[in-house]
C-alpha cells in the first residue's frame, strides 16, 4: 500500500459509496444464518441508517479512500457501560473493505484512527460485533489484539 490511502471522517458526499459497502457487509452475513436474511428494503434502510448516524455525536464514521475512491468503511457507537470500568466503549458495528483492497492493512488503519479519536474523548475501550461464524473477522480481531467478552444468543419463538 502506498501513500494513496487516506483515512478520514465520512461526509455526506460519501453516502452512496458507504451504503454500497454496508449492503455488501450485510449480504455477507446472510451466508451465515437464516436470521441474517436481508430485508427487501435493506438498501433504503441502510441509507437512512447512515444518514441518521451523521446527526448523532455518539457515532463515529470513518472511510478509507484509495486514489480518491471510498474502498473501506467503519462505523462505531459510543456506549456507556453502567456497571463496569472503564465506563465507555467504542463499539464497531460495521467494518468493511472492498475485496481488492484487503490484506493491505486498511481495516487496521481504520481501527487505529478510531482508537485515536476515542482516546481524544477519554474512551479507552474498543469493541466489535459480528456473527460468530465469520471466522475471517474472528481472526482479524484476534490479530488486532481483541478478545471475546460477550455472548449474545438468539432463539426464534413462534
Amino acid at each position: 500500500m502506498d501513500g494513496d490511502l487516506v483515512i478520514r471522517r465520512a461526509s455526506r458526499d460519501d453516502l452512496n459509496s458507504i451504503a454500497d459497502l454496508v449492503l455488501r457487509l450485510k449480504r455477507l452475513n446472510e451466508e451465515f444464518d437464516p436470521l441474517y436474511t436481508i430485508r427487501a428494503d435493506a438498501p433504503e434502510v441502510i441509507k437512512g441508517y447512515i444518514e441518521s448516524s451523521f446527526d448523532n455525536d455518539k457515532i463515529i464514521m470513518l472511510v478509507a479512500e484509495y486514489s480518491g475512491r471510498v474502498i473501506g468503511f467503519l462505523r462505531a457507537e459510543i456506549r456507556s457501560r453502567l456497571f463496569y470500568e472503564p465506563p465507555f466503549e467504542g463499539l464497531i458495528t460495521d467494518l468493511y473493505v472492498l475485496p481488492a483492497y484487503r490484506r493491505m492493512k486498511v481495516g487496521g488503519a481504520l481501527i487505529d484512527k478510531l482508537i485515536e479519536l476515542l482516546k481524544k474523548q477519554g474512551i479507552y475501550l474498543v469493541s466489535a460485533e459480528f456473527p460468530p461464524m465469520n471466522k475471517i473477522a474472528v481472526e482479524f480481531y484476534e490479530n488486532m489484539g481483541f478478545k471475546p467478552l460477550l455472548y449474545r444468543f438468539f432463539k426464534k419463538v413462534e
Binding site: 449480504r27 455477507l28 451466508e31 472492498l98 475485496p99 481488492a100 471466522k135 475471517i136
Partner: protein, 438 residues
C-alpha cells in the same frame, strides 16, 4: 449425447472387468525356490530389516517396497463426469489409474477409495497411511474440498502428494498452451486468456499459467454465475465457500470485465474450457469474436464444449480437446506416470510448483523436438519416450531445488527410469506370452 462407439466401450469394459475381476494384482518380485526362503523373506529373518528401520525410519525407503509404492486415494465424491458416486463405485477408476501408473511409469500404485467425506477426517487418514507409501496421488475429490485437502497434506506430509485432477491437468494444459502460443507467435505474458469453468482443473491451471508467466490481470475466469471480478455481488461469500476461487477473482480480470462466456471470449487470444459437456456451450460466433489466431482448448468430456470442426469453421487456429479420437488430446495421463516416476526415483519430499512447471516444459519440449504442427502440440500417449524424458527432468528439478533425498546423475537417473518403465512392460509381455495373462 453418447455416440455408438462410446456405448461399445462401456459394454466391452463391463465385460472385461467382470471376466478378470478387476485389472491389477500383486505378485512377489523376489525369487522363491523353496519354503525355506520364507525364513529369510518372512520370520524370523525379516526381524532384522525391521530392527534397522526402527533405528532409522528412512531405511524403509531402502529395505521395503515403499520407495516405489504410492496410494491412489479418493473419497469418491467427484468421479469422472459421474459425480458423487461413492468410494466403492470409484474403485474401477482408481484401479485403472494404478494400472497406468505401473504400465507407463513403472510405479506400484494401490487403489484406495476411502469412506471419509469430511475433509479433516480424510486428511487424518491420509496422514496416518504415510508410513506405507512413497507418495500419494489424490483423485476425484470434489471442489473446493480438494484444494483444502491438498494444501493441508502438502504442508504436513514428508512424501510427495499430488492431486491429479488439479495439477496433472494443469500441467498438461500448460504444455499444450506453450506450444500453441509458439505456433501462433504470441507470448504467454501478453495474451488474454479466458477460462470457462472454475472447478478444480481450471483453478489449478490458472494458477500454474500465472506461475509460468501469464499476467493475472489478463486472465478472465467464468464460473456458472458468469465472469469473476472482484466486486461481483457474491464475492464475500466466495471468500468463505471457496477461498481459491475468491483469490483468483481478486487478482484476475484487471479490466473488471462483466458478463458471461461470450463477453469473456471477446478479444481473447486463448480459451481454456473445462466446464460441462457440450456441444453448444461455446458458440461459433463467440470464437469469431476472439483475437486473431484463436487457440481453443475445449476439454469437457465426453463431448467438448464445442466440436473441433465447428471451432475450426469459426476460425480457431489451434484446437485441443480431452479426447483421444481428435488431434491434440490434453490428457493428464501424459503427466502423472512420469511425475511420480521422477519423484520416487529421487525420493523427493514434495512435488513443488517448480517441478510441475518443469514437467510442463519438458512435455512441451518433447513435442517441439518432434516438430510442432497445429494438430500436434502435445505428445501422444503412445509416445512412450515422453514418460522417460519427463520423469528424468522432474527428478533433476527435485535435485536442483533441494527436495530430493537422493541425488543421482542425469545418466544414472535415465538408466534407472528406462529400466523401471521397460521392466513393467516386459514382465507383462512375458506373462502374456506364457499364457498366464490372456
Amino acid at each position: 449425447m453418447r455416440s455408438n462407439s462410446t456405448d461399445q466401450w462401456y459394454d466391452l469394459s463391463l465385460k472385461i472387468h467382470r471376466s478378470y475381476g478387476g485389472k491389477i494384482e500383486m505378485i512377489p518380485k523376489v525369487p522363491i525356490k523353496s519354503l525355506q526362503d520364507f525364513s529369510i523373506l518372512y520370520t524370523p529373518g525379516v526381524a532384522q530389516p525391521s530392527r534397522v528401520i526402527s533405528r532409522d525410519p528412512d531405511q524403509s525407503f531402502i529395505l521395503t517396497s515403499r520407495w516405489n509404492m504410492i496410494a491412489v486415494v479418493t473419497d469418491g465424491t467427484r468421479v469422472l463426469g459421474l459425480g458423487d458416486i461413492g468410494p466403492e463405485a470409484s474403485y474401477p477408476v482408481m484401479e485403472g489409474k494404478a494400472l497406468l501408473f505401473k504400465y507407463l511409469g513403472g510405479v506400484d500404485a494401490i487403489p484406495l477409495p476411502i469412506r471419509a467425506r469430511d475433509p479433516d477426517t480424510f486428511i487424518d487418514i491420509v496422514k496416518s497411511i504415510e508410513p506405507a507409501f512413497g507418495g500419494i496421488n489424490l483423485e476425484d475429490i470434489e471442489s473446493p474440498k480438494c484444494f483444502y485437502i491438498l494444501e493441508r497434506l502438502r504442508e504436513s506430509l514428508e512424501i510427495p502428494i499430488w492431486h491429479d485432477d488439479q495439477q496433472g491437468t494443469a500441467t498438461a494444459i500448460l504444455a499444450g498452451l506453450i506450444n500453441a502460443l509458439k505456433l501462433v507467435g504470441k507470448k504467454l505474458n501478453e495474451v488474454l486468456i479466458a477460462f470457462i469453468g472454475a472447478g478444480a482443473s481450471n483453478i489449478a491451471t490458472a494458477n500454474l499459467v500465472i506461475k509460468a508467466g501469464a499476467k493475472p490481470g489478463n486472465i478472465i475466469m467464468v464460473d456458472s454465475k458468469g465472469i469473476l471480478y472482484h466486486e461481483r455481488e457474491d464475492i464475500d461469500s466466495l471468500m468463505f465457500s471457496n477461498r481459491w476461487k475468491y483469490d483468483l477473482a481478486i487478482k484476475t480480470n484487471s479490466e473488471q470485465r462483466k458478463g458471461g462466456i461470450p463477453e469473456a471470449l471477446k478479444g481473447a487470444d486463448v480459451v481454456i474450457a473445462a466446464s460441462r459437456p457440450g456441444p453448444g456451450i461455446i458458440k461459433k460466433e463467440w470464437i469469431r469474436a476472439m483475437n486473431d489466431d484463436p487457440i481453443v482448448f475445449a476439454l469437457a468430456n465426453p463431448v467438448p464444449e464445442i466440436w473441433p470442426w465447428e471451432a475450426k469453421e469459426a476460425g480457431a487456429r489451434i484446437i485441443a480437446t480431452g479426447r483421444s479420437d481428435f488431434p491434440n488430446q490434453i490428457n493428464n495421463s501424459l503427466v502423472f506416470p512420469s511425475v511420480f516416476r521422477g519423484v520416487l526415483s529421487v525420493r523427493a519430499k514434495t512435488i513443488s510448483d517448480e517441478m510441475a512447471l518443469e514437467a510442463a516444459y519438458s512435455l512441451a519440449r518433447f513435442a517441439e523436438n518432434k516438430g510442432l504442427r497445429e494438430d500436434y502440440i502435445v505428445p501422444r500417449m503412445d509416445e512412450l519416450d515422453t514418460y522417460i524424458q519427463v520423469a528424468v527432468d522432474v527428478a533433476m528439478k527435485a535435485i536442483d531445488t533441494g527436495v530430493a533425498r537422493v541425488k543421482k546423475s542425469r545418466k544414472d537417473l535415465y538408466d534407472e527410469v528406462v529400466r523401471l518403465i521397460r521392466s513393467a512392460k516386459s514382465k507383462l509381455d512375458a506373462l502374456m506370452n506364457m499364457g498366464l495373462i490372456q
